[in-house]
Every structure is written in structure tokens, then in C-alpha cells.
Amino acid sequence: MQNVKSKMHNFNVKFKNFIFLFLILNFTFLIFNLTGCGGGAGQGDRIQPAVTINAWHWMTDRDDAFAELAARYEKKTGVKVKFELYAPSDSYTQKVRAAAQAGTLPDIFGLLGEKRDFASFVIAGHVANLDSEMLRDNAAWKNKFFSRAIAVNEFLPDNEFKVEPGVYGVPLDVMNIQMLYNKKLLKDAGIKRPPKTWDEFLAMGEKFKESGVQGLVSGWGEMWMIDCFASNYAFNIMGEEKVMKTIKGEIPYTDPEWIAVFNLFKEMADNNILYNGIVTMVNKTAEQLFANERAAFAFNGSWCVNVYAGMNPDLDYGVMFPPAKGDFLMKAWGGAGSSFLVNGRSLFKQETIDFLRWLSDDEQQAYLAEVTKNLPANKDCITKLTPVLASFAKAMEDTTHPNIWPVHEFPLVIEAFDKGIQAIIIGEKSPAEIAVEVQKVKEKELNKRRQY
């Protein structure tokens, strides 16, 4: 019993120590906070900025630049802008959706996702229509941007979501997705120039095999990158009109030209063009492999310039459009990279709009582009770009994006489409089988829409 008692005593002492530690921690914390507030109290005597604009964003790599711009703006106008970062994007999306339900969205926020969700936010009154501001003075503000960048944020008259037409967002930067090739590896494989046609591209597989070079890397473990590639070739093979008709449900996915699109992936897999394991590769891994010269081609977006520069400054590579297969114009996937929206219920709507207009001025756009090495949404400040980035910028007019199409595919169909392509690449199913499966999902969704 003696032993037990001494043990208990021991425990008691420790227990008390623990409480003590806890109290100390709390206390230090309180002081820590009070000192934090103390600074604020000192400023309290000064005239505080009357307006504070709150902004939520998910762009980790731009957080510092935003803070800097906010500081400049406050110095200039006295309006305080407070940027708050929530990342990664899934977590950010959850926060924004929850805040929309609670009615606590900030003055400025951004949306990630499909146009359908954007439309719901507008219908729910969370997003302000910027049309009157954009169109003022002969549309001076609107004309600053790449047309594609605006289109992503625009709802046209008679849109399928029944949203009041107008521009609902201010684009920050633009991007598009193209193919990149490693000059040295192509030479090693005995290839003189990048491919112009699809058949030339496929023929390279043989040379890759001989020289032990791996072909194409891309983040095809993230399904949207597969979707980009397929969409490029769908435009190239059947033309924009037929793609839209398919989405409307007038042409089935079992159409031979759609099967031809699916078949491209089978051809690439059969001809040793794809990097071994591309179907489960996230884009960051793909970037790391291309930067370290482990693959000859990459299918990647304009942001990659920044990534490759960080990982391998000496990488010698060029940009190209994916080699054409069909007769129609190929369009690269692209448009606004990220945009800011104004809260429709903001207390400082006008001030917020003024800030965003300032943010899209040449000087600020140039600063953002320089710091983050992105393509600015303001087309007037594409100067001082590196050759690679300049060729990305040049392609901006030949881009397209589902969010600017007049009609939109069902999420479940997109999922079946992209997952189906993965199945084709690993040789599990044939292009024709996938076409049938995708069409089945499509019909089910069409029926559901008629029902509700």
C-alpha cells in the first residue's frame, strides 16, 4: 500500500505540474495576444481606415504579393484590404461553401470549379454583377483583359443556367495548356525536330524504345488534365460545333469521330509514347520528371515555366501545340487562371470594385506577373516575357475552356469520360467499349434532367 500511495502522490504532483504548465501556457498566450492588441491600441489614436475590405483566396504562391499590393493600396487610398489564405483548394472550397450557407462570405473571394457552381453562387445572390462597371467609358475596364479571360467570368444572354447576363468576375491571370519538348532528349533519341503531325509523333515511340528515353509525362492521375488533352483533339477531329452538339445530347459519344478521339490514347499507349505509370501520376510528379530530364515531352500549363525554372534552371525545352490529327482548328485548353468575385451582399461594394479595378491596372498586373511568373490577364502588359512564356502568351487567342462554352457537360459524364480514357491507356477496355459506357451515363443524366 505504501508503494501505491507514493505512486499516487507522485502522480498528483505531476498532475499539478501539468495544470500549472497549462495555466502558464494560457497566460503567456494571453499576454502574447494582448501585446498583439497593444500595437493596435497605439494606432487607435490615429484615424483608423474607415473601410476594411476582406478577401479570401487559395493562391499560396501569391499570398505575399497580395499582401504587398494591399499595403500599397492602403498607402495610396487609406482603404485597408485584408487578404486571408485558405489552402489547399479543396479546403478553400469547403470554407467558401460553408460561408455561403452562413452568409459570412468576405467582400472578395474566388471560386474553383465548374460554371454550374458559379451560376448557383450568382443565383443565390453571392456574386455582384460587374457589367455596369465593366462597360463604363466604352468598356475601358473590360477591354483591358484577354477576351478569353473575361469569357470565363461572363454569363451570356439566354444562358442555360438562367443567370442574368453580365460579367461576374475580375480575372487575375490567364493560362493555357500546351506540349513541351526537351531538346536534348529528342536529339539523344535521334529526332531532329518536334513532331508536326500525329503520325510523326507516334513514330517517335520506336526511337524512344531504342534509346531508352521515356515519352510523354503529364498529370493524368488528375483527371482534368486528361480531359484537356481529349478536348483539344475533339476540337481538332470533329470541330467545335459537333462537340457542342454532343454535349447538347444530339450526337452520341458512340459516334466514330468520338471513338477516334478515344483511340488516340490507345495509339499512344501501344506505340510506347506514354511514360510508364502516367495514369496515376499527379501533375507535380510529372513536372518533377520533365524538369529532371526523365521524359522527352510534357503536356502542361503555362505555370510550368516557373516550376521548371526552380527545379532545373538549365533545362533546354520548347513549346508546341499538340501535333494535329484532324482537319479542324485545334484549340488549346486555357482562359482565366484565377479570378476574383465581388460579394453581392458586400457592405463596401463600390470600394471593393475600385480596389479590383486598381488591381487590374497595368502596374499591378505587371508586378503580379513578375513576382509569380504567370501570364497577366491584362493583355497590355505582356512585355518582358521569356521566349517560352511569350509563346504561351501568343497562343491565348487560340484557346478554349468549358466555362466559355454555351452548354456544359454533366459532371458524371465527364468523370466517366476521363476514367474511361485511363482504362484505355492501361489496356483494360477498348475505345469502342468506353464510348458505349460514356453514352450510357449521358443518357441516364439526360433522363434525370427531364424528370426534375
Binding site: 500500500m1 508503494n3 501505491v4 505512486k7 499516487m8 502522480f11 498528483n12 498532475f15 501539468f18 504548465l21 497549462f22 501556457l25 494560457n26 503567456t28 498566450f29 502574447f32 495576444n33 498583439g36 492588441c37 493596435g40 491600441a41 487607435g44 487559395w58 493562391m59 499560396t60 504562391d61 499570398d63 486571408e84 489564405l85 485558405y86 489552402a87 489547399p88 483548394s89 479546403s91 478553400y92 469547403q94 470554407k95 461553401r97 460553408a98 460561408a99 450557407q101 452562413a102 459570412t104 507535380k284 518533377q288 524538369a291 529532371n292 500549363g301 505555370w303 510550368c304 516557373n306 516550376v307 526552380g310 527545379m311 532545373n312 534552371p313
Partner: protein, 314 residues
């Protein structure tokens, strides 16, 4: 003699087999740790191209950069606060409840316990929206109450003090408290379940002795049950500490300003949408892992030493 030798050989082989197994498992455990350490000392251009585990010219500066760029100072204190508060809260609340469920009799005890069990089993991925709305409503009510009583407070305290206190409650105290309670709720069911299992397993003789000595129920809980359950308490401490330390989804949902965010917020800085700064991320993760390793080192001893003293008496 012969038999003895055979015995020794068998024992030796058995022992060496055990050590080979232990070493293989240990090696797989330590390898990723070394890789993390090694990567934290490389540069962005060598992190995937340099195959050596520890680079020739280690970039110790990465740690300083990660600490300052990730603004770890503030986040670190926040995380220490949240982890301490949540773990402390869970230990007290769950051990009281588990003791109640295990030893005390009251109507409905079985139903209540199974409710906790069920809660532990149902994941509610959709609950972030109602949770956010709930916390926000509580905040609104609290603010209304504070504004309603502020005219009276101003009569007693200086006006700017009252204003500041309300601002402090609104922006600091309330979100932090709400987050702590949410996290206590997250770990509570599991902790009750683990503790009850251990309480059920423990002999009741010591408690009876204490009761005869005149201890009341609370006294027995604190002086007998808790010390005896020390291994289990250590397990739930480690479990919940790790859980809170690594949590960020709920933190980003409930907390609304940078000053109140935990450590994981610092790590996010290195993982951009497109660019991940691997060396700084690994340096940051290494620094983040150290306190958890220390907590484990401290508490795992209790798992081992724990009950042996009690057993001597029993």
C-alpha cells in the same frame, strides 16, 4: 550437456531471428524519416536529382528560411496552445465519462455509451457546413449579448477597454475556444471507448480499498482510477496530440484569421497550387514532427512503466 547446448542454440537462433525481424521493420520506418531529413538539406534543383540520402553540402539555411517564411513562430505557439487545451480537455472529460460508464450505475448508461460508440463509427463528411453555421450562430448570439451589456460595462470600465475586450473575444477568444471544443468533440468518443476498455479490464480491489478508506467517487477517480489507467491515458494523449497537431481542415473552417491558425498553416505556404518548395516543405515538416516525437518519447514511457507498480500490490 548436449541438451543444454541444443537449448542455447535454439535460443540463439530464435533471438537472432527476432532481431532480424525488428531490424527490417525498423529500417523501413527510419528510411522515410532520413529521406525527409536529407531532402530538407537539399535545394529545389537537387531534391529529386541528387540520389544521395544526405547531400554533400547541406543547406542548413533551409530551416531558418522555412521558419521565417512559414511564420512558424506564431503558428507554433498556437499549435502548442490548441494541442494542450484539447488533450487536457479530452483527458479530463473522457476519463470522467469512461469511469462513469465502466464503474458507476445509472439508468441509460448503456444507451449513452453506445451512442458515443456509434458516433465514433459514423464519419460525417457533410457535417462541415452545419458545423460552421452552428459556430457562427453561437458567435452571433454571443456578440449580441456583449453589445447588449456593453452600456453597463462602460459605466464600470473605461470605454476603450470594453471595446477592446469585445474585439478580443470576437476575433481571438471565441474562434479559439470554438475550435478547441470542436476538436475535443472529434477525439472524445474514441478516447472514451479506449479508456472504458482499460477501466473494464482493471481489477476493482484497489478502488474498494480506497472506498473503505473513505474516498468519495471523485476521489477514487482521481487517486485510484487515473493513476492505474496511466498506460491508456498515455495512449489517448499521444493519439489526440498527434491528431490536433496535424489538423488543418477544421482549423481553416472555424478560424478566420492568420493570427489564430495552427502550425499546419505554415506548411501550406510551401505547397502552392503549381509549385511545391520541397526542401523548405521537408524542413518545415521535420520541425513540425519534432514536438510530436518528444511527446511520444515522454508518454510512451508511461505505457511501459505504467501499471507494473500497481500490479506489485495487487
Amino acid at each position: 550437456m548436449d541438451i543444454n547446448l541444443k537449448h542455447i542454440i535454439i535460443r540463439r537462433t530464435k533471438l537472432s531471428f527476432i532481431y532480424v525481424l525488428l531490424s527490417i521493420v525498423a529500417l523501413t520506418c527510419v528510411f522515410p524519416l532520413l529521406w525527409m531529413l536529407g531532402s530538407s538539406l537539399k535545394t529545389q534543383s537537387t531534391v529529386f536529382s541528387d540520389p544521395s540520402l544526405i547531400p554533400a553540402s547541406p543547406e542548413w539555411n533551409n530551416y531558418y528560411l522555412a521558419w521565417t517564411k512559414g511564420e512558424f513562430g506564431v503558428y507554433f505557439l498556437n499549435s502548442v496552445f490548441y494541442t494542450t487545451a484539447v488533450v487536457f480537455g479530452i483527458i479530463i472529460i473522457s476519463s470522467l465519462a469512461a469511469y462513469g460508464f465502466s464503474r458507476l450505475k445509472f439508468p441509460g448508461s448503456n444507451i449513452l455509451f453506445h451512442m458515443f460508440l456509434a458516433a465514433m463509427m459514423i464519419p460525417l463528411p457533410g457535417s462541415f457546413v452545419p458545423l460552421y453555421v452552428l459556430v457562427n450562430n453561437i458567435r452571433k448570439v454571443l456578440l449580441e449579448f456583449l453589445t447588449a451589456i456593453s452600456p453597463f460595462l462602460i459605466k464600470i470600465f473605461p470605454a476603450h477597454f470594453v471595446q477592446q475586450s469585445i474585439a478580443f473575444i470576437q476575433h481571438q477568444a471565441f474562434p479559439r475556444t470554438a475550435y478547441v471544443f470542436c476538436m475535443i468533440n472529434v477525439g472524445l468518443s474514441l478516447s472514451i471507448y479506449i479508456l472504458k476498455t482499460f477501466f473494464d479490464k482493471m481489477p476493482g480491489a484497489l478502488e474498494d480499498a480506497a472506498r473503505i478508506d473513505g474516498c468519495n467517487k471523485l476521489g477514487i477517480w482521481r487517486h485510484v482510477a487515473l493513476p492505474l489507467a496511466r498506460p491508456a491515458l498515455a495512449v489517448i494523449t499521444i493519439f489526440n496530440a498527434l491528431n490536433v497537431w496535424n489538423e488543418y481542415i477544421l482549423a481553416q473552417l472555424i478560424l478566420s484569421s492568420k493570427e489564430t491558425m495552427p502550425l499546419q498553416r505554415g506548411l501550406i505556404v510551401f505547397q502552392g497550387m503549381h509549385v511545391t518548395d520541397y526542401p523548405l516543405l521537408m524542413a518545415g515538416m521535420t520541425m513540425t514532427a519534432i514536438p510530436i516525437i518528444i511527446i511520444y518519447l515522454i508518454f510512451q514511457k508511461h505505457i511501459i512503466k505504467g501499471i507494473t507498480a500497481g500490479a506489485v500490490v495487487g
